[in-house]
């Protein structure tokens, strides 16, 4: 770039020099000729110049002919613009800071959105990769995957994969981590080869093959210290012996982004292969499927091809009835998540675009004001023969200069922020690692530049056109402002305030909602409770031994010193996870399809001791006991809302209900043995909902969370807990250990996120608006200095002057804020799902913001007004 520029400039210089020399020669020859004809030297030179015409014009015409004129003018204007900015550093700083903020937030969001939306699956010739789902975005039945793979004529090959939690034991410490089970051809289909050792092959994907794992680069570095001799190293996976056979290349993070596995094992590897019964009943774990098109084939071809196969399957197998297949482009992020992300980013980008618009409006106001101040300069230029188009171009170049400077600043800050964010990764429940990786590349620079051009047009065009419309004559008279110009600026201020009001009101409503949510009673106490998850799915417990295992586990944990009580639960309350069932009481007929909502009841499977541990009070009946196992009468504990809905005023104890699958199937009769106080189960903001608990001994789940009440700081219990569990079972990995208080905070994450985004953006625009109001008012004050001087000289009190000067801006301020409040009421109504115990038109938030903004706006107008009112009238009168 620099080379190109210098060449360009060099070419101009050389050309200019050539022309200079040519003209010089011409003039000298002419002069000599004149001298020969008897003129004096001076006279001869003057005559020569006359005959030649304007040297400068010739050069200009010559330049025009060259066609580089635009570039040359541009360079010239840029130089001039830079000089101009250096002369008014206050304006330059304000403008650049304003635009940097506006452009920066947009580029930042874009830097996150871009990679999510555009990155394709890794691998060779990735444009031939497609993603395959059943129905809209469901995983594919493994049996269907096999059918697709064996019968397709359009796809070269298909690979299956699925995320799977597993326990890895290196030495004697078991760790729960996220792995991925994949078909043997997975790496081959993608075209990924190992950086060390080998990847998996179809030979590994057989039930009788020895267990092997391929590690991710990150796992190899963090868990094995990047050991170069890792290949061949034995490890224990899910309690079985495995061997490390390879390490994937650093950039390969699997195909389930944002979930990043730590290792890959074959689909049918020891301990992972589905049972023979599941295979027969087509109930193996379902798969995320990626296909590779044969060269020359298209997505549509493949879609048709697989649709035929899917139609066959649908007629052959009842569980495939109505199941369709859908193919998508092979993007790294799965289509469902892409769509969600797109929705979220649209909202976010709308907000940040608002910020940028406020910034532009702000700057346009300043430019207009400055345009007025430069009337004389422009008048002189016009008088000297500057073309109107040329003048607009020059003013636009100045705006462009500002925008480009701001984009550079924006890119620099986004890179800094992005770096900070990239090193952040969140450990989610279940031991998954989520990484947020903004892509800092040319796309960022490109988007920043695009925004710069857009803002130039937004900011610069109107003021530039306006300024250039000033006539030569007008300019010399143009000392007092016209009404329309002032109204334009005031309107800009009002519009700005309106947008600001919307954002800040939203932020305030959300913040109040957050505060209220945190004060809500969840119906249980998480104080001093440690939650730690375990997963025993790899042991394929049937319910009876599973229940015995959990009972022993509880007993073992209760022996840890400092433990008050222990409970197990399949779902941890208030972690945004919930499960519901259709429930019918004895004597109740299944409702019509449209009335199903009335029999939806949420549920959880828990062990004895769960209620005690969370301090959920029993209102009647009993807690679960160890004797509530399979083979014993099925029992449940229900909450008060469920009791009221199903049994109204009668006593529900010893009544029975059953679970309906929505078609013909009914579960066994379940007897109500206890009633508990209502609580919050999924989110803090939820309405009271019917709920029942079932004992884990009867409704077994292999992945549960230990909830341990202790008198101490919960996390301090962890080391002793781990030691105890190791003696209990060396392959039992504990993961996602956290204080329950922290875990339940997750349920207010959406509102917390929304509140902080709105707050940050709101503060940015508040600052912008204050700068804008100050700038415009200050400028107007300066223009009225003479008038004020006259008034003071005639005896007006300073306070009267201030009132006079601020009255107009107050009127516009009130208009802007009022308009903003109305819009905010509409906007808040859209966010209703995030509002806990706060009305969308919360009077505190609305009133508070109106007051805050009104005061800010008044201060921004008052300060310059006061300064003017204190002027020495003599100085004021002489100022123009």
């Amino acid at each position: 770039m620099r080379v190109f520029l210098s060449r360009l400039i060099g070419a101009f210089r050389r050309r200019d020099a050539d022309l200079d020399e040519e003209i010089q020669t011409h003039l000298e020859l002419l002069t000599e000729e004149n001298i020969k004809q008897g003129m004096a030297r001076d006279q001869a030179r003057a005559a020569a110049r006359r005959a030649f015409g304007g040297v400068a014009q010739t050069k200009e015409a010559h330049g025009d002919q060259h066609g580089f004129r635009l570039v040359e003018d541009f360079l010239h204007d840029t130089r001039f613009g830079l000089r101009f900015l250096r002369k008014s550093p206050g304006f330059a700083f304000t403008a650049v800071a304003t635009l940097t903020l506006g452009i920066g937030v947009n580029v930042l969001i874009f830097s996150f959105a871009y990679p999510i939306l555009t990155t394709r699956l890794p691998g060779t010739e990735s444009e031939r990769l497609v993603r395959i789902f059943e129905n809209r975005d469901s995983n594919v039945f493994y049996a269907d995957y096999e059918a697709f793979r064996d019968q397709t004529r359009v796809l070269e090959d298909l690979a299956a994969s699925q995320i799977e939690g597993l326990s890895l034991r290196i030495g004697d410490v078991p760790e729960h981590l996220v792995g991925m089970v994949v078909s043997g051809n997975y790496f081959h289909v993608l075209g990924i080869s190992a950086q060390l050792g080998r990847t998996l092959t179809p030979n590994d994907d057989r039930p009788d093959a020895p267990g092997v794992v391929v590690l991710t680069d990150r796992s190899w570095r963090t868990r094995f210290g990047a050991d170069p001799g890792i290949v061949g190293r034995p490890v224990v996976v899910n309690g079985r012996p495995y061997t490390v056979v390879g390490v994937a290349p650093p950039r390969f993070l699997g195909t389930a982004v944002p979930v990043i596995p730590e290792m890959w094992v074959a689909w049918h590897a020891p301990g992972f292969a589905p049972s023979a019964e599941d295979v027969v009943r087509r109930r193996e774990r379902s798969a995320q499927v990626i296909g590779r098109l044969k060269p020359g084939q298209t997505l549509q071809d493949a879609q048709q091809d697989l649709a035929h196969i899917a139609a066959d399957l649908a007629t052959t197998y009842p569980e495939n009835h109505g199941r369709t297949v859908n193919l998508y482009e092979g993007y790294l992020v799965a289509p469902a998540l892409r769509a969600q992300t797109l929705g979220f980013l649209t909202v976010l980008l709308t907000l940040t675009a608002l910020v940028l618009i406020v910034a532009c409006v702000n700057l346009a106001g300043l430019q207009l004001a400055r345009g007025a101040a430069r009337v004389q300069e422009i008048g002189i230029r016009l008088a000297l023969g500057a073309g109107r188009g040329r003048l607009v171009r020059q003013l636009l170049t100045e705006s462009l200069l500002l925008s480009v400077l701001s984009s550079i600043a924006a890119v620099v800050s986004v890179v800094a922020v992005g770096r900070a964010l990239a090193s952040w990764s969140a450990v989610m429940p279940g031991g998954m690692t989520l990484t947020v990786a903004p892509e800092i590349g040319w796309n960022i620079v490109a988007s920043a530049m695009a925004l710069a051009v857009a803002t130039t047009v937004l900011v610069g065009l109107l003021p530039a056109l306006r300024s250039s419309r000033i006539g030569i004559v007008g300019a010399s008279y143009w000392t007092t402002s016209t009404g329309s110009r002032l109204r334009g600026q005031a309107f800009i201020v009002a519009a700005q305030l309106c947008l600001t009001t919307v954002l800040i009101v939203l932020a305030a409503v959300l913040a109040r909602s957050l505060a209220k949510a945190q004060a809500l009673d969840p119906g249980f106490s998480s104080d001093g409770v440690l939650s730690a998850s375990i997963d025993v799915s790899s042991r394929s417990f049937s319910p009876e031994p599973g229940a015995r295992f959990y009972a022993d586990l509880r007993e073992s944990v209760e022996q840890v010193p400092g433990v008050i009580s222990v409970g197990l639960a399949e779902l941890v309350p208030l972690t945004l996870s919930g499960r519901s069932r259709l429930v019918l009481k004895e004597g109740q007929n299944p409702p019509a399809r449209t009335d199903r909502e009335s029999v939806v009841v949420f549920t959880n499977n828990v062990s004895p001791g769960f209620l005690d541990t969370l301090g959920i009070p029993l209102r009647g009946g009993r807690d679960f006991e160890d004797r509530d196992r399979v083979g014993q009468p099925d029992v449940a504990i229900i909450n008060e809302t469920m009791a009221r809905r199903y049994w109204a005023d009668t006593n529900p104890l010893a009544r029975r209900f059953r679970i309906w699958d929505g078609l013909e199937g009914f579960g066994p009769w379940i007897e109500v043995v206890g009633i508990v106080h209502d609580g919050k189960y999924v989110t803090l903001g939820e309405e009271p909902r019917p709920f029942f608990y079932r004992p884990l001994g009867q409704s077994f789940a292999p992945d549960v969370t230990l909830l341990i009440k202790t008198a101490r700081e919960p996390l301090r219990l962890l080391p002793t807990l781990r030691t105890q569990l190791r003696t209990f079972d060396p392959d039992l990995a504990v993961f996602s250990a956290a204080a329950l208080t922290d875990q339940t905070k997750l349920s207010v994450l959406p509102v917390r996120l929304a509140a902080s985004v709105a707050m940050v953006l709101g503060l940015i625009v508040l600052v912008l608006a204050a700068i804008g109001i100050y700038g415009v008012t200050a400028y107007q004050m300066r223009r009225r200095t003479r008038e004020v001087g006259l008034r003071i000289a005639l005896g007006a009190e300073p306070s009267r002057i201030v009132a006079l000067l601020t009255r107009r801006s107050l009127r516009w301020t009130a208009g802007g804020i009022g308009c903003g409040l109305v819009l905010a009421a509409f906007a808040a109504a859209i966010l209703r799902t995030l509002l806990y115990g706060v009305s969308a038109v919360d009077p505190v938030a609305f009133g508070g913001v109106a007051f805050l903004l009104g005061t800010t706006a008044y201060a921004a107008a008052y300060i310059p007004a006061r300064r003017v009112s204190r002027l020495d009238p003599m100085v004021a009168l002489r100022c123009e």
Binding site: H26, Q57, A61
Partner: protein
Amino acid sequence: MPSPPADVPYGTLDLMVLKTLEQMGPLHGYGIARRIEQIAEGMLALNQGTIYPALLRLEQKGWIVSEWGSSENNRRAKFYSITKAGKKQLAAEKESWARTVAMMERMLGEES
């Protein structure tokens, strides 16, 4: 009394330059300007500077080429000469000019 010098009619300067170069061989800008003035014998108000954009224009079209040399007073000067394409263009222009003149004469002649 000779009529006052007229401005150079639009589009004719290129033609004059080409003709001059065809007739005189390589010349520098000053030489071309002098030659045109001599031939016009005071009938033409030529701003000598306007020669240079015209020269660049012709050069860009490939009708003339330039080359640095030294002038009568030993200064560096660019010498322009007509190319084959330039000669062809000149012939075409001459013909079209003749047609225009003939047409104008007929028109104006009929009127009087």
